[in-house]
Symmetry: C2
């Protein structure tokens, strides 16, 4: 068997999420169907293992998955074969033949997420599926300052949605940044961490927006983390603003 | 009765076009339903008159329409009332109370259309509904040079799709420009004219792309115009790249 690592983008709008759910359109099932067709539909079917799930409406710029095939297909040919069969809302950007020690989920080292917020009185029709809409004024610099309190290793129990199956809520955030993108005018939030809990990024963004709008003091990030209570961070920002930007497998043996 | 002029944007992806068609989702019907609801559904129903139709999948940044209501509602309140009832793929950007001599279709003086083309080997999932995909190399400068031959008054019979109900195929183009947008890398085609025939912009773009790719000489624009034969300009660029940018009602009494 040959192991293929694929890096791919998807528009999450018309998927109920990454993970397979019966009778629903998911990214995982869409990939799995094509990979199995390429292998002439073996029994049992081949699996496609993603780096992790994304929710309904959440997008990916560089999601990663792996699968095994009994045939050796050159990387470029595999990329073309996949893209020629995939629907237009998924695009494979890179294919790599990798060692069997590579595992898209277990070896994921760091992930980068971006969240996009658009202001203005009304929702822009062309950005409705690609940004969250927030019509109140916000102080971007204040949000960026507050975000720095998320850095480091913390118990993020205050930032996990019910339904999480994580054994531990301790995660490390390496980078947190909030800025206004010049070309689009959109507010971007970037977070790099060793993993994120269910809805963690969307809950962090909602808290930062409340700080940016002056509904909460900057110091609330520290207080909410310390509380370890989901009731403290009340809101969850909507799915459509969220992008999985990249998954890092620590190839460069960075030290943390 | 009070006459309201509205300027609005829409994402054409999920509409079968602007113009009402039975049992189909159209921009005109969506607006008409809301306007009639505001007037408590009179018999006969009120009409919403657009500046002109756009096809399925074609977008608008500033489409214009007018309608009459028996009640006087301040412009800002009308804008909020419409946006609060419209689906998120239509957004009203401006409301103006106008004289009864204003007619969105008959008084339209000039229209500006933009066409967006994205290159690259595969379709970008986030731009699939908002640009045409053209994977072959093109010379943008060459297309811009060729486009200048479209300027002026011509019989555009070679550039009209079958199904057109125009009495005359003579139209005037005031501006034609092709450039690569820096921020997106997309190729943009802008055309300003006193009116455009059915599919005219999409046929012009397809011809210019063939010139840009070297399949036709630059001089072909002149030759195809002179031929007055639809067979000469074979292709039609797809709907998803096309935007109605603005409709000019000659308020500034420009001379043509």
């Amino acid at each position: 068997m040959y192991r293929y690592k694929i890096t791919f983008a998807y528009d999450g709008t018309n998927f109920v999420g990454f993970q397979i759910q019966p009778h629903q359109r998911t990214v995982e099932q869409t990939l799995k169907t094509i990979v199995n067709r390429m292998a002439k539909n073996p029994t049992p079917p081949l699996s496609v293992i993603g780096s992790g799930r994304t929710d309904a409406g959440v997008h990916a710029l560089n999601q990663v998955a792996h699968f095994d095939l009994p045939t050796l297909i050159p990387e470029k040919s595999m990329m073309r074969a996949l893209n020629s069969q995939l629907p237009l809302d998924i695009m494979v950007k890179k294919v790599e033949l990798v060692d069997h020690s590579f595992h898209a989920r277990f070896n994921a080292h760091r992930k980068r997420y971006r969240y996009r917020v658009r202001q203005g009185e009304f929702v822009d029709p062309f950005r409705r599926n690609y940004t969250a809409h927030y019509k109140y004024p916000v102080d971007v610099e204040k949000m960026n300052t507050a975000a720095q309190d998320l850095l480091g290793e913390h118990d993020f129990t205050s930032f996990v949605a019910s339904g999480s199956q994580a054994k531990s809520n301790v995660r490390t955030i390496y980078e947190a940044k909030v800025w206004r993108e010049e070309s689009s005018g959109e507010i971007c939030f970037d977070f790099v961490g060793n993993g994120f809990l269910y809805n963690q990024v969307r809950i962090m963004v909602a808290l930062l927006l409340e700080i940016g709008n002056g509904q909460r003091p900057i110091a609330d990030v520290k207080r909410v983390i310390a509380a370890k209570d989901r009731q403290e961070a009340r809101m969850t920002a909507p799915a459509e603003g969220l992008y999985l930007v990249s998954v890092d497998y620590g190839e460069s043996q960075e030290k943390d």
